[in-house]
């Protein structure tokens, strides 16, 4: 068979030439001949084309590149410090019902504490076992500390947990229809109705479905760099980077960080923190990709950036910020 390197060199040459203005019909037919000559040529060409064109979205980020750079410099520092990080997302369809069931079986003997933050609020909770919880915007959390177990129910919103290492008293966070069990680690759990996202910095975490979905459901043990997506009975594990976890946790410094995220997602994030709500005019606007780090409490500044950098129309009212083309 033809050498891999030769096929790759030729594939790269074709890809470069195809982007040229003078690419003509003669070129196209010569290219077709080459491509059809072997499956190996196709493999080399498809492989290169896939990664090269997949990176085309980079263009959308160009306008705010300077801002991004400083963000990444900071994350580079964090990367060196964080030993192992994993981000884990669990999605549950029957979460509301599962939640009610869990609430019903909450132990009554130990005192239950309830914590709540308003929209835009943030609260640090210091528990008697030495663990610390940062509660994010619009969140509700209940805690029960007993001699055998520390259990937390995340009713709504997001919390960042620094868990004191006490092997005899496992620390369990229940969110939607999954339970996250940890032995001495730092992690965040976020709940958006049926979806649970868990971001963990260092340590090992066990993810298990609650009883409602336990029949045939799988138990996953995740270590640094893993991402698990759990939906009902199936669990998917992938490898991820530390940066995404740090991005997800940037709310702790009052910052929202986006990396090539659709505007719809960014708007939803701002709406979590502010009374003034973003309204996007249409799907095209919602699908625009943006990146950067922004103060969570200043939707107007973000709106101005959309206007200046992307040429979008922005109407700023008392309750809403409307964005259109």
């Amino acid at each position: 068979m033809i050498s891999a390197q030769q096929a790759q060199d030729q594939a790269a040459e074709w890809l470069v030439r195809q982007e040229e203005a003078e690419w003509g019909e003669g070129d196209q037919s010569a290219f077709e001949d080459w491509l059809q000559a072997s499956e190996g040529n196709k493999a080399a060409y498809w492989r290169l084309k896939h990664t090269w064109h997949g990176a085309g979205r980079l263009r959308a980020l160009a306008t705010i590149a300077p801002m991004r750079r400083s963000v990444f410099a900071r994350h580079g520092e964090l990367f060196r410090r964080a030993a192992a990080v994993l981000l884990l997302a669990a999605v549950g369809a029957a979460s509301i019902f599962a939640w009610n069931r869990d609430a019903a079986v909450a132990p009554a003997e130990a005192a239950q504490m309830r914590f709540e933050t308003p929209v835009g609020g943030r609260k640090e909770i210091r528990l008697s076992d030495g663990s610390v919880i940062d509660l994010n915007t619009a969140s509700v959390l209940r805690v029960v500390l007993s001699d055998t177990e520390r259990r937390v129910w995340l009713d709504r919103g997001e919390g960042y947990f620094q868990v004191a290492h006490i092997p005899a008293r496992p620390f369990v966070v229940v969110s939607a229809d999954h339970a996250v069990t940890v032995l001495g680690t730092r992690f965040a759990v976020r709940r958006e109705q049926a979806r649970t996202t868990v971001s963990v910095i260092s340590g090992r975490v066990r993810l298990a479905p609650s009883k409602a979905v336990a029949d045939g459901g799988r138990l996953a043990v995740l270590t640094g760099g893993d991402i698990a997506v759990a939906s009902g009975r199936s669990t998917l594990v992938t490898t991820h980077s530390v940066r995404e976890v740090e991005d997800a946790l940037s709310w702790r410094t009052g910052t929202l960080t986006f990396d090539d995220a659709p505007l719809a997602e960014a708007a939803a994030q701002f709406n979590r923190y502010n009374r003034q709500q973003f309204v996007l005019a249409d799907d095209e606007v919602a699908a625009m990709r943006i990146g950067g780090a922004f103060p969570a409490s200043d939707p107007v500044a973000f709106a101005r950036l959309l206007r200046d950098a992307y040429g979008l129309k922005v109407q700023i009212g008392d309750d809403i910020v409307k964005v259109s083309r």
């Binding site: 790759q8 072997s38 196709k42 990664t51 997949g54 990176a55 160009a62 594990v237």
Partner: protein
């Protein structure tokens, strides 16, 4: 018969995300490092040819079966046989469920890898790629802005493209210069020495 568009979609969606694992598998079972890339390329070609009759249900298991058979055939020819070859494949089959999630590389992750890959290129190569991908310049504009020839732009672009593909699919992201023909495989190492020329 699976046609090219369907084959390309399958290849990019199901096969390419396995590249890092496949490369490791070949490397573990083949003593000549310089031939690993060629063997992987062969496996891709064989996998495509084999899937023309119908796409496999379990791509990962299929891909590693193709790889193992190819390695065994090559080993017979070279008269070197690795016992690990069979054991490894069985281990992989059990891990199929867990690892199939590798294909779920998010768009954000893909973009990040692209950026990380860019950092590994030489400054000049990086600038050529940035001008093309980010600024949207064509070859002539790129050449004018960097004050270099259009042939150099094309050459740097092709090299950068290959290194980025390698890195984004889990490899080292080294710059590999266009080499001599397959007959000089053994000397490939010599042409790989300039991973970062800047």
């Amino acid at each position: 018969m699976i046609d090219d568009p369907a084959m390309e979609a399958w290849f990019c969606r199901e096969v390419l995300p396995q590249e890092a694992a496949l490369t490791n598998f070949i490397r573990r079972n083949w003593r000549v490092e310089e031939e690993v890339q060629d063997l992987r390329h062969d496996v891709y070609a064989l996998a495509i040819a084999g899937a023309r009759r119908g796409l496999p249900d379990n791509t990962r298991a299929y891909l590693f079966r193709v790889a193992r058979n190819h390695l065994i055939n090559q080993a017979k020819r070279a008269r070197i046989v690795s016992i690990d070859l069979v054991a490894d494949l069985e281990a992989i089959d059990e891990r199929v469920d867990l690892l199939s999630a590798e294909r779920q590389l998010s768009a954000r992750e893909e973009l990040r890898r692209f950026r990380d890959g860019l950092d590994r290129l030489s400054p000049r190569m990086r600038e050529v790629v940035m001008l093309r991908k980010v600024e949207g310049c064509d070859t002539r504009e790129t050449a004018a802005r960097m004050n270099i020839g259009t042939d150099t732009v094309k050459k740097q672009l092709a090299l950068g493209m290959k290194a980025l593909a390698d890195f984004m699919l889990g490899g080292s992201g080294r710059v590999i210069r266009p080499g001599p023909r397959a007959s000089t495989r053994r000397h490939r190492q010599d042409s790989r020495d300039d991973r970062r020329e800047g």
